[in-house]
């Protein structure tokens, strides 16, 4: 149980038309751990994380090679709706719907067929509690989600993702649009979430990766054709204290990027 592989890629490559954005990425992401993905701008880390819930499908001209697995199953053989039900995502800037707090959180469950009001109410409360937002919004769940602060909106988006009861949560620089205090709250939250979820988080903030993750994958881009590749992957502590690759060391010591 401890080291169950939740997500895996084998020689995974992605192309935007003729441009190769990712080359031969092979990685195993462990269940109930936080895996951080770091790397310089343009190394394909956001593209990589969007692979796991197939958000890249929405971009025209994208083609892929290799395998991506959720548990044992090839995600490209799965129905995208089912996949996204099991693999949730939180985006870079908070994107609550222009609806009430309650309706935002209930949105996913309702889409998946939950109709019972009591069940929904319970699900909404639990998700908001898990996202550490409940105390701030419980007095008026019917206020507009757009009236919340940026940090609250992002926690609402996390609650919204939790309400669908996924197995994996992908976070694409979830704190980049937030102030330092809101950022810390999100990091604390992520730490508590890993008990129940597998978390993959893209960040450009190395302190954040070092602080908040168990494993770190460092992506780099090829100097010649700018294709992203996985330069180093391992437990966060050893990657930051004892990097195996010269390029990793250069990056984490701030010599470029």
């Amino acid at each position: 149980m401890e080291d169950e592989v939740k997500l895996g890629t084998e020689d995974y490559s992605l192309f935007y038309g003729d441009f190769q954005a990712l080359r031969d990425v092979s990685v195993d992401i462990l269940a109930n751990h936080i895996t951080a993905i770091i790397g310089p701008s343009g190394c394909g880390k956001s593209t990589f994380i969007r692979t796991f819930n197939r958000m890249n499908d929405l971009i025209s001209g994208v083609s892929v090679e290799g395998k991506v697995l959720l548990g044992e199953r090839d995600i490209f053989q799965m129905d995208a709706v089912e996949l996204r039900h099991r693999v949730g995502m939180v985006f870079q800037s908070p994107n609550p719907f222009p609806k009430s707090v309650f309706d935002n959180v209930a949105y996913g469950p309702v889409a998946h067929g939950v109709r019972d009001r009591a069940e929904l109410a319970e699900l909404v409360e639990r998700s908001l509690r898990d996202a550490a937002l409940w105390d701030e919004v419980k007095d008026d769940l019917h206020r507009s989600a757009l009236s919340l602060s940026g940090g609250q909106q992002q926690r609402l988006c996390i609650a919204r993702a939790l309400a669908v009861e996924p197995e994996v949560i992908l976070m694409d620089e979830p704190a980049s649009a937030l102030d330092p205090i809101a950022t810390l709250r999100i990091e604390d939250l992520i730490e508590t979430l890993k008990e129940d979820y597998t978390i993959v988080i893209v960040t450009h903030n190395m302190q954040q990766a070092a602080r908040a993750s168990d494993y770190t994958a460092f992506f780099m881009m090829d100097q010649e054709d700018r294709a992203g590749y996985l330069a180093e992957y391992g437990p966060t502590k050893s990657l930051f204290t004892n990097p195996q690759q010269k390029v990793t060391e250069d990056y984490i010591t701030g010599r470029f990027g």
């Binding site: 819930n53 958000m55 001209g61 949105y107 507009s144 757009l146």
Partner: protein, 326 residues
């Protein structure tokens, strides 16, 4: 026309205190240049104010004239008795109000769902296919072109088309009727609704769609539960414009609704002809001596349009407030 003096008194920029500007360090030549540029700006602003003023003045003049002249004949009697015809047109306008309301209802009932669905198709589904090859993208191009084209067709052409297709015994044979007029009116406003809805749907942020899809909602759920509510105000605007169009058209309904002063018995009396208010104004003005009654009808028409705008605006604001939460 207003003189220069009265103009500059309207210009608030006068007050912004340009003469207090500290220009002590400048050479006389530069000073003169600045003064000239300020003068040019003042003249330009003057013209802008005049243009704005003229637009409002024309609008007010028309509305006031119609309301004041028409107001003389308007009383409860005028509203609730049907027109009797004849040279001096004894009676009121009750049946024309009823015909107009029925007509608006049916035109919108037909055109709004169709137009909104077409707009959803064009933005949410057709756009995905644009990159592809084959017959579907071509079809999409054709549809888009057709909508553009339809929007520019003079309304009487729609009238002729409606007459030929719906009224004429050689085709559908519905005669002058509420049904013929509603179908023709729907064709007329369809491009208006499609374009307004298309714009509104396109303006919905992509992040809403991504957020919804990432939660495992289907494309249709995303469109129905997130995109449409967010686009509702823009769609409603298109519908309001359409209502205005139906209320104000004459020629189109002259050749499809007919001109009888009797109104259809009820909303579902689709085979009966009628006479819309705008058409009644035309009849009164051209074929009777009851010019004041034409003005009165016009005044009621204006009031109705304003009311419809208000009602739809308020409901749409309520609706979006409810959707957005407080």
């Amino acid at each position: 026309m207003s003189s220069d003096g009265s103009l500059s008194s309207v210009v608030p920029f006068e007050r912004s205190g340009e003469r207090d500007v500290d220009d002590g360090g400048l050479e006389p030549g530069a000073k003169a240049s600045i003064a000239r540029r300020h003068l040019i700006q003042k003249i330009a602003f003057g013209f802008l104010w005049m243009a704005g003023f003229t637009a409002v003045a024309v609008l007010l003049a028309v509305i006031l004239y119609v309301l004041l002249r028409g107001g003389r004949v308007i009383d409860l009697e005028f509203l609730i008795t049907p027109p009797q015809g004849g040279l001096s047109d004894v009676g009121g306008i009750s049946t024309t109000i009823i015909s107009t309301v029925y007509l608006v209802f049916w035109v919108i009932a037909i055109a709004a769902p169709l137009g909104v669905m077409a707009a959803i198709f064009l933005v949410e589904y057709a756009e995905e296919m644009r990159g592809g090859m084959g017959i579907v993208p071509l079809l999409v191009q054709v549809i888009r072109f057709a909508v553009e084209l339809l929007a520019g067709v003079p309304s009487i052409i729609f009238g002729l088309f409606g007459y030929a297709l719906f009224v004429s015994a050689q085709a559908m044979g519905w005669g002058f009727s509420l049904l013929s007029a509603a179908m023709t009116g729907a064709c007329l406003v369809l491009p208006v609704i499609i374009r307004a809805s298309e714009e509104a749907i396109r303006a919905v942020p992509e992040s809403y769609r991504r957020g919804s899809l990432a939660l495992g909602a289907t494309k249709w759920q995303t469109v129905w539960k997130v995109v449409l509510p967010a686009a509702a105000p823009g769609i409603v605007t298109g519908i309001v414009l359409s209502v205005g169009r139906v209320v104000s058209e004459t020629a189109v309904f002259f050749v499809t609704l007919g001109g009888t002063v009797r109104a259809p018995d009820n909303l579902f009396d689709l085979t009966s002809p009628g006479r819309s208010m705008a058409l009644h104004v035309y009849y009164l003005a051209m074929e009777t001596r009851a010019f004041d009654k034409a003005m009165g009808t016009g005044a009621i028409l204006i009031i109705i349009i304003v009311l419809i705008n208000l009602i739809i605006n308020i409901t749409s604001r309520r609706l979006t407030a409810k959707l957005k939460g407080r």
